[in-house]
């Protein structure tokens, strides 16, 4: 029989973050010595997810005694920051604006400390082809890919390009917008005749598509947080989904079974942790990130993508990893905010 894999992630210092974690002593039960403005919403396709993430994080921070204001991002952002003067801003905007670096530029401009990666690194990580190239340069594996802007199809003819894609990659392939998250606009294509429709659905989200060779295996997400000793991986979370891990599966509880920690052999668990930390470093990420991977049947991980602003909703992977690591969520979020207060800006 299949041996039930032990709760794997070994408590080696390079895998679980001990240093940073707010123990409950760093979280006063009351008293609001720290004020945080949580930014959520925005106008991207992922507004709904962002609002949910924002509410969750605000709730957790309040539980850790932080004075929290939840704010939708609009034209008055600078005015809001000027009048409320939060100690730290925690941007929880997913999608365009939030992750592409532009909001972070504004925060730099305003001179407020904020949680997360700086503008330039955000911009690079947000653009999947650029990020994939950096990952490869750092020696990480990522599925074979092609970037196809819409104009290319106009110039060369859609059928010819798609035929060439299939010739190169075979099937199945995964079609996704080069920018964007939450699996929006993503299709796994099994048959040549479904490829055109997948491209149309993808281009509705943006002018450029990424086509990847589909990789089968165990889906895991590894969250990374910065600790005094450097970036540290939280236990990998394994995703077992009925069907594809699409928007519905991500945000309506039920179709996905999560295993935190993932049921991986020790050496594989160590490998995904190492790779996630390497990805965090390669993309110059700060404070927190999440790397989504497939562990192939031979045990080798392949990085699908790296998220600058991982989802923080009820069904999101980052909070599950925090719990699996044995951390108190409010205390850990508070310590991330405190870290932003003290960290040197890039």
């Amino acid at each position: 029989m299949t041996p039930p894999t032990p709760a794997t992630t070994p408590a080696a210092p390079d895998v679980v973050a001990p240093g940073l974690t707010g123990t409950s002593s760093t979280a006063p039960a009351h008293g609001t010595d720290l004020s945080v403005a949580v930014l959520a919403g925005g106008l991207s396709h992922e507004r709904d997810v962002s609002l949910r993430s924002g509410r969750r994080v605000a709730e957790a921070l309040r539980a850790a005694g932080v004075d929290v204001r939840l704010h939708d991002v609009d034209a008055d952002l600078l005015g809001f920051l000027r009048t409320t003067r939060p100690d730290v801003v925690w941007p929880l905007l997913h999608g365009a604006g939030g992750e592409d670096g532009s909001l972070r530029d504004v925060l730099e401009l305003a001179g407020v400390p904020y949680v997360g990666t700086g503008p330039r690194a955000s911009r690079a990580a947000w653009d999947k082809p650029i990020a994939k190239e950096r990952l490869q340069q750092a020696g990480l594996t990522t599925p074979e890919w092609l970037t196809l802007p819409q104009e290319l199809f106009r110039d060369l003819g859609a059928a010819a390009v798609l035929d060439a894609v299939v010739e190169r990659f075979g099937l199945p392939v995964v079609v996704k917008p080069t920018r964007g998250g939450s699996a929006l606009g993503v299709t796994r294509v099994q048959r040549r005749e479904d490829l055109a429709r997948a491209m149309v659905d993808c281009f509705a989200y943006g002018g450029s598509a990424l086509i990847e060779q589909a990789v089968d295996g165990i889906e895991v997400a590894v969250s990374v947080i910065d600790s005094p000793t450097g970036p540290t991986a939280l236990p990998p979370v394994e995703i077992v989904v009925d069907g594809t891990y699409d928007y519905d599966a991500r945000y309506n509880a039920g179709r996905v079974e999560y295993f935190a920690p993932a049921r991986l052999d020790d050496h594989v668990a160590r490998q995904v942790a190492t790779d996630a930390v390497a990805a965090h470093r390669a993309l110059d990420l700060r404070h927190l990130s999440r790397t989504d991977m497939i562990v192939r049947p031979d045990g080798a991980p392949t990085v699908l993508e790296v998220n600058v602003a991982p989802g923080m909703t009820e069904t999101s992977l980052f909070p599950q990893a925090v719990v699996a690591a044995g951390h108190d969520v409010p205390a850990l979020y508070r310590s991330i905010a405190e870290q932003a207060l003290t960290s040197v800006r890039r």
Partner: protein, 606 residues
């Protein structure tokens, strides 16, 4: 004694994800080696470099291959597993399942899930494949049990992937501590299966941001009301009659309001109703819910226009009705098609419970049932003994003419009439009403008490006060003029900016129903609209069966004329870019492959 295993080959097969039983078969066929599945499992355990089998995949057909995606197959697979779990099926589920079982048996096929390819129809192995779905490899579900000889048909329940106990049980079987983040996932009623927010619904989240012109919602323009006057009246009401207004009320509703309602419906020719025939509801939406609750058993047929009001379809779905759409044209529901639908359903042995129709300024189609057709629809329904549910929230909002007589004006026996203050006054009070024949009304009152005890007294009395002290007729007239101006703005902007589409020009109500240029798919296009800061509702929301992707509904009730023109301008650029793309790829509008999930905005999103 089993022979020694060819280690390399077995390792490779295991790595490819093949289960022990399949490997046994493979070895027998290709290598002439007889081994037991147990030996393979033991081998896998010893050779830790072979990754453990992934957890059992619950066989829920979300990724049925497109050719098998017809909701018939999908529903059959779901029903098959539900039955295996000992759950009861609705009549419609049973019929569909039996149909699929018969078809597959005759074709000698079963449905098989292949991790790499999804769901396939494959030749059935005689004696092994007993149901419509091939059982997962024994190894994947219960490795510890002694393997059955391949010829013994596995009882389908044994392999039913989701035990009634739900997620906890399946997690234990897989050996880890998995969670579905919803401990009640296995407990929901069948009718809750579609109650999921979709990607499309999430896109509407931007609709109430001021940067976005929303042509998606059905919110009336409340700023048009004399809020100061209403405010004073309500203050007086609580000060003088607060002990009643804030107390429980009667299940049937406030009597004074029911009398007032008769004044309103008299404008549409309903003059023979008595206050006792009126049941006040929490919006006409609750009226719809009550009527469906008392008439519809799972599997019963409800006839509705194609397209029809998304909120009504949601109610019908929650009572597991089967909706048959009947076409409409510029003059509303087509009587001949209605009669055909009744006859066809009856001859197929189905029970037709009622016709649900929106005769005036249809949501979403914008059309009105002509006077001549009203008589014919009444006559057909009477002849076939089919009840009519007349849903009429927009009847008084005609732009160019006095209201046509309601269907109920001609027939007090065969029509249940639903009315509402939401569109002519204010939806925030949530007050609507039902006028029904006495026996139906008695049941409606009891049904309403069992769901809400009584409609809000405070709301009802506020409306009564408004009707008594404000010029409500003048207000409706003002609304009509305002909405006419907005309709003109929308239709004008459509002609100017979107000549490649086609639409009707509604002479009342809130909506324009737009047919997109050939090939465009309103669902697929919505993200592009969000990027351009404009929102609409894809036509698929208004069909029970996933049709309608070639249409979109635009509403002109909430934005100002200037915003409407801006919205249509943005929409035109969206449509034009999408048209380019569609031409490039040669794609078409496609049916929504899961019409059950929620793909409309929530009511407070413009």
């Amino acid at each position: 004694m089993p022979r020694k295993l060819p280690a390399e080959l077995v390792t490779r097969l295991l790595r490819e994800g093949m289960g022990p039983r399949a490997i046994v078969e493979h070895l027998r066929e290709h290598e002439g080696i007889e081994v037991s599945p147990q030996a393979i499992s033991t081998f896998r355990q010893r050779h830790t470099d072979v990754p453990p089998q992934h957890s059992t995949r619950r066989v829920v057909p979300w990724d049925v291959r497109p050719e098998h995606r017809s909701s018939g197959y999908r529903r059959a697979i779901l029903a098959y597993h539900r039955r295996a779990q000992g759950r009861t099926l609705t009549g419609e589920e049973r019929r569909n399942l039996e149909h699929v079982e018969r078809t597959l048996r005759e074709a000698g096929q079963v449905i098989d899930y292949q991790p790499a390819q999804g769901w396939l129809l494959v030749p059935a192995r005689p004696g092994v494949d007993t149901g419509i779905v091939r059982e997962p490899e024994a190894s994947m579900t219960h490795d510890t049990t002694p393997t059955q000889p391949a010829t013994t048909p596995a009882p389908s329940a044994a392999a039913a992937p989701a035990p009634p106990g739900g997620p906890a049980a399946s997690a234990t079987a897989a050996g880890g501590a998995g969670t579905r983040l919803d401990p009640w996932f296995g407990s929901y009623a069948a009718r809750a299966h579609g109650m999921r927010a979709s990607e499309i619904r999430a896109l509407f989240a931007v609709a109430n941001r001021p940067e976005v012109v929303s042509l998606a919602g059905g919110m009336p323009f409340i700023e048009g009301l004399p809020l100061d006057v209403i405010g004073e009246a309500v203050q007086r009401l609580i000060a003088t009659k607060g002990t009643t207004a804030l107390q429980y009320g009667s299940g049937q509703g406030d009597e004074e309001l029911r009398e007032r309602i008769l004044e309103i419906v008299a404008l549409e020719g309903i003059t023979d109703a008595h206050p006792d025939d009126v049941v006040v509801t929490t919006g006409s939406q609750q009226g719809l819910d009550l009527v469906t609750r008392i008439f519809v058993d799972p599997g019963d047929v409800v006839l509705a226009e194609a397209p029809s009001y998304v909120g009504a379809l949601g109610v019908f779905r929650s009572y597991e009705a089967q909706v048959q759409h009947v076409p409409l044209d510029a003059d509303g529901l087509v009587p001949e098609a209605l009669e055909r639908a009744i006859v066809q359903a009856r001859s197929a042995g189905q029970r037709v419970k009622f016709l649900y129709t929106i005769p005036n300024y249809h949501n979403p189609a914008g059309v009105t049932l002509s006077l001549e057709r009203r008589q014919r629809v009444l006559e057909i329904c009477k002849r076939h003994g089919v009840l009519i549910i007349e849903d009429n929230p927009y009847g008084l909002l005609g732009f160019d003419r006095e209201p046509l007589p309601a269907l109920r004006a001609f027939d007090d026996e065969g029509v249940v009439y639903l009315g509402s203050f939401s569109k002519t006054f204010a939806p925030g009070y949530r007050v609507g009403w039902v006028i029904a024949p006495h026996a139906v009304r008695e049941k409606l009152v009891l049904a309403s008490e069992s769901s809400i005890l009584s409609p809000s007294n405070a709301s009802q009395m506020a409306i009564t006060t408004y009707l008594a002290t404000c010029d409500w007729r003048g207000q409706i007239k003002a609304y009509r003029e305002m909405y006419r101006e907005r309709r003109d703005a929308m239709v004008g902007a459509l002609s100017e900016h979107l000549p490649s589409a086609s639409w009707n020009v509604p002479d009342g109500g809130f909506y324009v129903w737009v047919r997109l240029p050939d090939g465009l798919d309103a669902r697929s296009m919505l993200p592009r609209a969000v990027t351009e800061r404009v929102a609409y509702v894809p036509g698929t929301a208004f069909f029970y069966d996933g049709q309608g992707a070639d249409h979109m509904r635009l509403s002109f009730c909430y934005p100002t004329p200037e915003r409407i023109r801006e919205g249509v301008r943005r929409l035109a650029s969206v449509v034009n870019s999408e048209a380019d793309l569609v031409r490039l790829f040669g794609t078409h509008a496609e049916p929504d492959d899961d019409p059950r999930d929620a793909e409309h905005p929530s009511p407070n999103l413009a």
